[in-house]
């Protein structure tokens, strides 16, 4: 599958499909599973059938996607919104399971996907480092060892025993990111997290990722910022509406993607 197969893939997706139920915004009903919601869903389905329309039950976030990443490789995933980038990362990190197909990974997968979700506002910075660290799969003894580094990277020294609800949003993000980059996973997934925090911190995060990559960290990187993709990734997969549109070197893919965007209506 991979263009330059240096070693056995550390991560592999084979014919992966992912289906999502559609939200019901028609008649102001949300997608929540309530008796009313289910009833409306039934009505809509039979209504659509009677009028000879397809049942509006679901969409495909991923359709028959296969890709693989070799150890030490940095793969970039690009594509328009709704392309399936985040879904791909969710499947790799096993946040959710596919409709069909196999997802295989070796070793520990660490993910920088919305780093604020693992942080609890009522707890202090210190407590949150332990909470989020163990949630990400670190042992407490390792957290204790790295505690100084984590606090230093997050620049939170004097505030570490303050509840996070008193933090600024920038401080909160720095805390989350700092824990997440100190997890030392075998595969690191990064989803657009560099779009948060202040600019200097972002640059430092980028540097840190760059460092990790050169030291042989396997990386899967999702971003809309093409210069970051070009800087970090050795190979790029271009996803379009849930399918692999193309796969190749960063400049090629970025060019292709740019052309699709310029045409407005991407081919598909």
């Amino acid at each position: 599958m991979s263009s330059d197969g240096a070693g056995r893939p550390i991560l592999e997706l084979r014919h992966v499909w992912k289906r999502y139920r559609l939200g019901h915004r028609i008649r102001g009903v949300t997608h929540k599973r309530t008796v009313k919601g289910e009833f409306n869903r039934l009505l809509e389905r039979t209504g659509a059938k009677r009028r000879g329309l397809p049942a509006p039950g679901h969409v495909w976030a991923l359709a028959d996607v296969s890709l693989s990443v070799a150890e030490g490789e940095a793969l970039g995933i690009i594509g328009a919104n709704g392309g399936g980038k985040s879904t791909t990362l969710k499947l790799i990190s096993r946040i959710t399971e596919p409709w069909s197909g196999t997802v295989r990974t070796r070793g520990r997968v660490g993910s920088l996907i919305e780093i604020r979700s693992g942080i609890h506002p009522e707890l202090t910075g210190r407590e949150n480092i332990y909470l989020y660290g163990t949630v990400l799969g670190l042992r407490r003894r390792d957290i204790k060892r790295k505690f100084g580094q984590i606090v230093e990277f997050a620049e939170l020294g004097p505030y570490i025993d303050t509840p996070v609800k008193r933090y600024s949003s920038g401080m909160e993000v720095r805390l989350g990111f700092s824990v997440a980059v100190h997890v030392d996973p075998d595969v690191l997934l990064v989803d657009e997290v560099l779009a948060v925090g202040d600019e200097t911190f972002q640059r430092r995060c980028l540097e840190r990722l760059d460092e990790m990559r050169t030291s042989g960290q396997t990386l899967v990187f999702v971003s809309h910022v093409m210069s970051d993709i070009e800087r970090l990734c050795g190979r790029v997969v271009y996803l379009e509406r849930g399918m692999v549109r193309a796969e190749g070197s960063p400049p090629e893919m970025i060019q292709l993607y740019g052309r699709d965007l310029a045409e407005g209506e991407p081919a598909g």
């Binding site: 392309g83 069909s100 979700s117 042992r139």
Partner: protein
């Protein structure tokens, strides 16, 4: 007026700066990205495969759970911290809850209704059953609260999802230990001394814990799909509290039943022999009714295994639903 840019020159400089910054680049990148329509059934290049089942065998699920024991500990710690943070009386609430019920029960059932207490002081009589009952009810209640409270984590982070209900049971277990110490103090104050039958207490408690875990897993699972549990669970627990011999002796409950049902009742409601047993081994120095207790143990274990397997089968999809 104040917030408007003051001159055109400044305006230009500002936008220049934006364009040169990473933020500018990101902003531009995001503005250029269209949102494409999701793919529907008719736009698939090949027909979609049927849904694939991913069986979760019990062995690996348990191994994963053992691997997550530090996470479990962190969750329990966090639960306890959060529960009593910014509560002026702190952990004392763990004691107050059953204690307050005891006072109410003593007044209502001991003094007014005079349901009897098998010779023991009514306060000790009710408290000795309210403590284990509080553990059961607390587990289920915490389970429902915790799965709702941890929804962002479930949605965004891969972690074994059974950790959340199990942590709820464990943190209810901590409350149990605290109020259990009060019970101990009370027993000694009333002149009770340890007896051989106290040895049966841990056995009965383990069976109760099985039921607590099973009920918590079930409540968590249902809550992921239907938030109705937030109203339904407290109501159900209240019904169960009065359906079990907590506030009144088992003998009184039996006397109220038709004669044909008296023998069967302790087998039908597993809570009955457990609550009765946990009390009588402490207060009366009598061994539990082993027949119904044994049947409760079998029901508890079997239902726990069934519910746990069901939970593990469904929990990979929690992130899409919750």
């Amino acid at each position: 007026m104040e917030g408007q840019p003051q001159s055109r020159a400044e305006d230009v400089r500002f936008s220049d700066a934006i364009h040169r910054s990473r933020f500018g680049e990101q902003l531009e990148a995001h503005l250029r990205i269209p949102r494409l329509k999701p793919r529907t059934d008719d736009e698939l290049p090949v027909p979609a495969p049927p849904r694939q089942r991913y069986p979760v065998p019990l062995g690996p699920a348990l191994r994963e759970l053992i691997g997550a024991r530090e996470l479990l500990r962190t969750f329990v710690e966090r639960d306890l911290r959060l529960r009593y943070r910014q509560a002026a009386l702190g952990a004392a609430w763990a004691i107050f809850q059953p204690l307050l019920l005891m006072v109410v029960f003593t007044l209502a059932f001991g003094r007014i209704a005079k349901v009897g207490s098998e010779g023991a002081p009514y306060a000790v009589f009710s408290y000795s059953a309210l403590v284990p009952w509080g553990f059961f009810a607390g587990s289920v209640n915490y389970g429902v609260t915790n799965i709702v409270g941890n929804a962002p984590i479930v949605r965004k982070i891969a972690l074994p999802r059974d950790v959340i209900p199990i942590a709820s049971v464990l943190s209810a277990g901590v409350d149990f230990v605290v109020s259990g110490l009060i019970l101990m103090g009370m027993l000694f104050a009333y002149g009770y001394t340890p007896r051989l039958t106290w040895l049966a207490y841990p056995v009965l408690f383990v069976i109760l814990a099985e039921f607590a875990l099973m009920a918590t897993l079930l409540a968590t699972l249902v809550t992921v799909y239907f938030r109705d549990t937030r109203f339904a669970i407290p109501t159900l627990l209240q019904v169960l509290l009065f359906a079990s011999p907590v506030a009144y002796p088992l003998s009184k409950v039996l006397r109220g039943l038709p004669p044909g049902l008296r023998r069967a009742y302790p087998y039908i409601d597993p809570m009955a022999p457990l609550m009765d047993g946990l009390r009588r081994v402490l207060l009366h120095g009598r061994w539990p009714q082993w027949g119904p207790v044994g049947s409760a143990a079998v029901i508890g274990t079997a239902s726990l295994v069934v519910v746990y397997r069901w939970y593990k089968q469904v929990d990979p999809r929690f992130a899409d639903v919750i």
